[in-house]
């Protein structure tokens, strides 16, 4: 199960992760919907690009621009969070959406925890595979921690000061009133 568009849905993709003895060239990508590491996509480009059921995932030290030429070929791109504290995935997501115009599913995988979901959603993730040892229903709650935000990011693109009419000082007293 994953969270997609703010609901819990069944997931028919599998994420391929290389084991120590695997190489990107030799690993056999099974039939069916598979999200492969970028390395595998590159190594087996010739065959994989024939298939319609291939997604790709990036590690946190890869970059959005690595997918510059291919980005529109995928219906699913995932970004891995090796540790929740590794924040590179947020910038990768932002760049995929805002700079490369990626429109398909953008999924957070790896160490994905409830308290990160709100931020992830704002930089452009619309799908989340929370850590399997956590209750997915709880994780879902993380998406609605806040109902208002200040700054521009991918979602929403307009900062608060462009979305609303905020009042200046003429209408309020001082804090000591």
């Amino acid at each position: 199960m994953i969270i997609k568009n703010k609901t819990i849905v069944a997931d028919d993709w599998t994420v391929l992760r290389l084991q120590e003895h695997d190489t990107a060239e030799d690993i056999i990508v099974s039939v069916g919907k598979v999200i492969v590491p970028l390395k595998v996509w590159r190594a087996q480009h010739e065959t994989l690009q024939q298939r319609k059921d291939i997604g790709v995932w990036l590690t946190s030290d890869e970059r959005a621009e690595d997918l510059k030429d291919d980005v529109q070929k995928f219906s699913v791109i995932a970004i891995d969070f090796p540790k929740f504290s590794d924040g590179r995935g947020y910038s990768i997501a932002y760049n995929l959406r805002a700079r490369l115009g990626y429109k398909g599913e953008l999924r957070a995988i790896g160490d994905v925890l409830r308290d990160q979901l709100f931020y992830m959603h704002r930089v452009g993730f619309d799908a989340f595979a929370p850590r399997p040892d956590r209750k997915i229903e709880d994780a879902l709650k993380g998406l609605s921690d806040f109902s208002e935000v200040y700054q521009t990011s991918f979602n929403p693109i307009l900062p608060l000061f462009r979305r609303t009419q905020r009042k200046g000082n003429s209408t309020v007293g001082t804090l000591n009133d």
Binding site: D86, Y90, E148, Y150, F161, N176
Partner: protein, 580 residues
């Protein structure tokens, strides 16, 4: 000052709810300590030696009397009756229970305050000039921009898990009073030849293990673009900053590794895409925020109060205070008053609940109900009528807030050190106390003149020892003693520099004598009105070093330190008493 509207209040209220639930999950075991850690840190909650410590944000150091009273309330209800003002213009409470912290946040939210991003690897509380808006040398008031940056950085989704902490300081005077060279990003808001407002942007400054003075990345970023420009700096840092080694993770290391030119190239490549985009500031927004910082109702007053002069002649202590702790104001008839939290014998930056209430009352009566917290751990009343100075002085004196030592040797900056901090190598506060007591004599201090002395309990430099004229760092505990390194030649402001270590380290009891000797060399060598730092720059380190290490001073007579022998710390049971 800035006031929350319904949006600000809602965001802070929702944070309280979110945090309350996080604490509930932690207490029920649903969250492991490891998982809770980054959540509590982004909320300023540390586990210290004895208890939980909460760091509360005071954005750009500006606070109302009502908010100050809330600190007094928190000190009494949840802590041991006092709080600690820090070099980052925040306040810390040291003796809290985890269970109480959601209620503390709720109390804070009721007076438009919070503890958001006071710790963690995110953009921290924005610091600024404590004399913003009132200084005579001000070019542009930095406060509206500081508030705009506060909002921009609050819960920024992309930069909540940076490689490391991130500190931004902003100043708007001709003289930098916000130590902008010692920050990850330093901003000087200024005007160009055409009178347009913009920012000189410095990047890659910082203290800690590898102290570096920031480099200029752009001479002038027009005000419209400041948020997007800062966003690009952070994105480049987030993408390329090192994450393999915590000690090399700060932006200063990246800027050094790439070189400022390459760093700038990457930032501007990113920025080219953002420039003029939705993050661009509008004049409406700047005007809206600036409307909260317009002048209070100043009276038309003469700039010289004859009563003041008479009283000055009568009272030496008032006259001392006037010359040390009172600064000129840009409006005639007004003055800026610095209330010293550095009475020798007290922990630098500590204030009791009674003192907090007293300063809140003083602010209400004499300064439009506002106060500032300085990064030198003092308090400021920014808008005092000169004719009120005598009364203010008398009333503040009752609360031990008038020590006339601002900018002098006993105005020591100190981190909490080994009494509180798990990372410390040595105690800081007791050392600050002993040094302050050694140099308490005001005439002597006056003769020494302007000097800064900063103490940190370890390399992390929370006491900013690298930018003190004299810096002291706890280096180790050994042989039942604590050892400190002494460095000289650091400074902040427009001529920022990093101090250099003078040689092998000293024990706790030796340090005051070392300071005495450094001062001695200065007094011997100085030319006319030269300040300590200027003498160090002119004659170099050698004469100081020579004199300090020349003889075994512990064997000499008339040692300053002798009068103040302090027992070595007992590390099994951390030395502590609330006010020493």
């Amino acid at each position: 000052m800035y006031r929350y509207d319904e949006y600000d209040q809602q965001i802070v209220n929702e944070r309280v709810m979110q945090y309350r639930d996080q604490v509930r999950r932690r207490l029920s075991g649903e969250l492991s300590e490891e998982e809770f850690l980054p959540l509590r840190l982004q909320n300023g909650l540390y586990m210290q030696i004895h208890a939980y410590m909460l760091r509360i944000a005071v954005p750009y150091g500006l606070i109302s009397s009502k908010q100050m009273r809330m600190f007094a309330h928190i000190a009494r209800k949840y802590d041991r009756g006092y709080g600690h003002f820090t070099t980052r213009q925040n306040i810390q409470f040291n003796w809290l229970k985890l269970e109480d912290t959601p209620d503390i946040l709720a109390d804070l939210a009721s007076v438009e305050m919070h503890a958001i991003q006071t710790s963690g690897n995110c953009v921290r509380n924005i610091t600024s000039d404590e004399f913003a808006g009132v200084a005579q040398d001000e070019v542009v008031d930095p406060r509206p921009y500081a508030e705009i940056l506060r909002q921009w950085s609050t819960f920024h989704p992309e930069f909540a898990y940076l490689p490391r902490k991130f500190k931004i300081a902003i100043s708007g005077g001709k003289e930098d009073r916000a130590a902008i060279y010692a920050h990850d990003i330093g901003l000087a808001v200024t005007k160009n030849a055409q009178g347009e407002i913009g920012f000189r942007v410095l990047v890659g400054g910082g203290l800690g293990r590898t102290p570096i003075i920031g480099s200029e990345i752009c001479e002038f970023v027009p005000w419209q673009h400041i948020l997007t420009y800062v966003e690009s700096i952070l994105r480049v840092y987030n993408e390329y900053g090192r994450r393999d080694n915590k000690f090399k993770a700060r932006i200063k290391i990246l800027v050094k590794a790439l070189g400022i030119d390459e760093f700038k190239r990457r930032v501007e490549a990113d920025w080219a895409d953002l420039k003029d985009g939705p993050g661009t500031l509008t004049i409406e927004e700047v005007d809206r925020v600036a409307s909260f910082f317009s002048d209070p109702f100043y009276e038309t007053l003469p700039d010289h109060d004859s009563k003041l002069n008479e009283f000055k002649a009568d009272s030496r202590s008032f006259s001392n205070w006037l010359s040390r702790n009172v600064r000129p104001h840009r409006i005639p008839g007004y003055a800026i008053v610095v209330l010293s939290l550095k009475k020798p014998g007290n922990a630098p930056g500590d204030a009791t609940a009674e003192q907090m209430e007293a300063v809140a009352d003083l602010a209400d009566r004499y300064s439009f109900g506002e106060l500032r917290i300085t990064h030198k751990q003092n308090l400021v009343l920014a808008d005092v009528r000169q004719k009120d100075l005598i009364r203010l002085w008398q009333e503040a004196a009752e609360h031990e807030l008038t020590t006339p030592n601002i900018g002098m040797l006993t105005d020591i900056i100190s981190c909490p050190g080994a009494e509180f901090c798990t990372l410390a190598n040595a105690r800081s506060i007791p050392l600050a106390k002993v040094i302050a007591e050694c140099f308490e004599d005001l005439d002597y201090q006056h003769d020494i003149g302007e000097i800064t002395l900063n103490i940190s309990g370890c390399v992390n430099a929370c006491g900013q020892h690298h930018i003190g004229n004299i810096g002291i760092t706890g280096v180790e505990k050994k042989d039942h003693d604590e050892w400190y390194q002494v460095s000289i030649g650091g400074s902040e402001g427009n001529d920022s520099s990093i101090s250099k270590i003078i040689g092998p380290s000293f024990t706790f009891n030796q340090v005051p004598e070392v300071i005495e000797r450094l001062i001695h060399v200065y007094l011997r060598e100085r030319m006319e009105t030269e300040r300590f730092i200027e003498t160090v720059r002119r004659i170099g380190h050698a004469p100081f070093k020579e004199h300090v290490y020349a003889t075994d001073f512990m064997a000499q007579e008339e040692k300053v330190a002798d009068k103040h022998i302090v027992e070595p710390a007992q590390y099994e049971v951390p030395y502590y008493s609330p006010r020493f």
